[in-house]
């Protein structure tokens, strides 16, 4: 049966199991939208800005593990997606972005709303395609989804000219796809796995350092099993939170710039670091020359470029994290007679760690006069569902969430770690809520970042997406203010928001509901009411304005040089 290119595109999405897309119409996708009009299998959600649409697709992908899909028109629509694409790229999120393009005959002519979006996004996509012929749509989409989700996942952009959308063609979706230059190495080498387990069993001060790849690779269960079997302490990056239950006694919490004292001390004093799908980002390692000076390093990652990029590695294992960890469990079982001996050998290490834990736990000074942000986060954990999905924006509130919420399940924290994109939290929550209408979805934001995509409240209300927006309002761009306080003699250059906003009225204007707490004793009530309300909600907390995120490893300092209280 013949159909036009726009319809073929939708049939491809259907074949890929796509049920929800986030998109914004315009001249070069009007044909695609015309086909969508009667295409009931796909739910289309109209955000109020393409950046938000892209973040929503990203949030959808992070929460579900499936490929998120965003659509935008050519030119300004396409450029508006760039921040969303870069955000997904830095955190390896599987996504397909379909952009309209001017008709092929006009490409290169500076036509109306023409932009070289493939060129613009080349450094922040895993791959991209320009579809030049209606015959190529199906194969291109098959490749796009395959590339987006396999190996180290990432965003793939498909540029889709208007004339190709209008051309007639046949629809045949390929069952399989073969890309000769793309063969991700998924199977961890058995010899390397063997060596890894031998190294672990010989270690006295081992620590597992777990990154976002463990969440993306669906390897939480294997990780948890292996860590418990070996009784090896586990620290995670911001992106790795949820991969290992923080309620477990083996958990050291998050490491790095705002990581726990015990995690950073454990890394610095370790004799063997088992890096599990983490990438030794500078926010994690601190000063590289003094990073983990006594440790041998085993590095498990599906992306060979991550290995030995920043630090020397003694044993690289390239492969899918779930595969490698599964093999390590089998290998550990083969060595079960050595496990008791190993446990005894690492006992002093556990004692040392528990001393660090007790000496400087993640903590704050409670107040009866002003609301402490950390207190709000703790209360949120207490009062929210076990499987609630939390998204954050970027700034102090993000770090407080990471420190105080306690994540025990994978895919329950959605946060922009690599790019650190303000404006991410609200639309990402929107995407997660679209995927899980029945689950509690809460976004924790600062008063700065929430304003970057506040227009999405309209999308929430229109689509019945009951996201709970928590605003920790310090009336500052708090994280930058903190740096100015510590490193720039309190010259608060352009970090005071000055204009107070009435968020209750704002919620009201969008047809949502607003709640406000200004005193500590109101916190619990506001959270209860907010979570109980059936629709989208703003819960605003006026927090102590100059609260700092601590501990802190100043940029460029060694991991063990933490500012603990300042």
């Amino acid at each position: 049966m013949k159909m036009n290119g726009a319809r073929i595109m939708l049939e491809c999405l259907k074949k890929e199991g796509v049920t929800t897309v986030f998109g914004y119409p315009g001249g070069t996708v009007i044909n695609l939208y015309d086909e969508l009009f009667n295409f009931k299998e796909i739910r289309h959600i109209l955000p109020r800005h393409e950046q938000a649409g892209t973040h929503a697709a990203d949030g959808y992908a992070r929460a579900t593990g499936r490929v998120g899909v965003a659509i935008a028109t050519s030119g300004p629509g396409a450029t508006n997606t760039v921040t969303g694409i870069a955000t997904a790229y830095m955190d390896s999120i599987p996504m397909v972005i379909i952009t309209g393009q001017v008709p092929t005959a006009l490409i290169g002519n500076d036509a109306f709303q023409e932009v070289d979006i493939i060129g613009i996004t080349r450094p922040c996509t895993k791959h991209s395609f320009l579809i030049r012929d209606v015959k190529d749509i199906a194969l291109t989409m098959k490749k796009a989804f395959y590339i987006a989700r396999s190996g180290r996942p990432g965003p793939v952009l498909v540029d889709f000219p208007k004339d190709v959308q209008m051309s007639q063609g046949e629809f045949h979706y390929p069952e399989e796809v073969e890309i000769r230059g793309y063969k991700p190495n998924l199977s961890g080498h058995p010899r390397q796995v063997e060596k890894a387990v031998t190294m672990i069993l010989a270690a006295k001060r081992p620590v597992m350092y777990v990154g976002g790849g463990a969440v993306l690779g669906g390897a939480s269960d294997e990780l948890t099993l292996l860590a418990r079997k070996l009784t090896v302490p586990v620290t995670t990056t911001l992106m790795g939170l949820g991969a290992f239950p923080e309620s477990d006694p083996l958990s050291l919490g998050m490491l790095g710039m705002h990581g726990s004292y015990c995690a950073n001390m454990a890394m610095t004093n370790s004799d063997l670091i088992i890096a599990v799908a983490a990438r030794f980002d500078d926010r994690v390692t601190g000063k590289l020359s003094t990073f983990a000076p006594h440790a041998k390093i085993i590095h498990i990652d599906v992306d060979p470029t991550s290995i030995k990029k920043n630090v020397r590695v003694d044993l690289p294992i390239v492969g899918d994290v779930k595969d490698v960890l599964t093999k390590m469990i089998v290998q550990a079982d083969k060595n079960s007679e050595k496990l008791a001996e190993f446990s005894a050998a690492v006992e002093p290490w556990h004692l040392e760690i528990s001393t660090w834990k007790k000496k400087h736990p993640i903590d704050y000074v409670q107040s009866t006069a002003t609301i402490k942000p950390q207190f709000v986060i703790q209360k949120l954990r207490e009062l929210s569902d076990d499987d609630a999905i939390i998204s954050t924006d970027v700034g102090q509130h993000q770090m407080w969430t990471a420190q105080f919420f306690q994540f025990n399940k994978p895919r329950t924290l959605l946060t922009s770690g690599g790019l650190g994109t303000m404006g991410y939290g609200l639309p990402a929550a929107m995407g997660a809520q679209a995927a899980f209408p029945e689950r509690q979805v809460i976004t924790i934001c600062g008063d700065g970042g929430v304003q970057m995509n506040i227009q999405e409240m309209a999308t929430l209300v229109q689509n019945g997406l009951p996201v709970k927006i928590v605003i920790l309002n310090n009336n500052f761009l708090g994280m930058v203010r903190q740096w100015q306080e510590l490193f720039f003699d309190k010259r608060y250059s352009s970090t005071c928001m000055e204009l107070p906003i009435d968020y209750i009225k704002l919620a009201d204007a969008f047809g949502a509901k607003g709640f406000l707490a200004t005193k500590p004793e109101e916190v619990e009530d506001v959270i209860r009411q907010g979570l109980q309300h059936s629709g989208p909600v703003i819960m605003e907390f006026k927090i102590s304005r100059e609260e700092k995120v601590l501990p802190m490893v100043p940029a460029g300092a060694s991991l063990n040089e933490m500012v603990l209280n300042a």
Binding site: I118, G119, R122, L130, I147, G181, D303, T305
Partner: protein, 166 residues
Amino acid sequence: MHHTQHTLSVIVENDFGVLSRVATLFSGRGFNIDSLSVAPTNEEGLSRITIVTRGDEQVLEQINKQLYKLIDVLKVLDFSDGSALERELALIKVSAEDDSRAEVLRIADIFRAKIIDVTPKSYTIEATGNPNKIDAILELLRPLGLKELVRTGAVAIGRGAKGWNG
């Protein structure tokens, strides 16, 4: 750190935009490109990019891995170990008046270079050879007055009977 020159031969899909993907990778990650040349090969749909780059061992390893990570890259051959034959072509326009005319001809002759254009004031020379040889002829011609120089950048092929894919 020890920075050595490496010649990489990169076999790529002859796709739209592949050259800019490779170039973006080098510029975006701060890798050096001393020279780059690209053209289709005998195999349907494949092109070969020869890149001369510099870096220590770790940088070279990253370049290698990053290139492989590009979807359009099939194979990266690192010819730094002298396992390959390298050739470059240069077109050199050099001043040649009075006394120096004979000198230019003599130099060209020594390097088995061809004169491909002649005017009363200049010669244009075509020289091919290992990039070091090109450097050498240029060094001799420079004092006579180089008017213009075009180099292709190196291309390289492995020694022996085997093709790159066996």
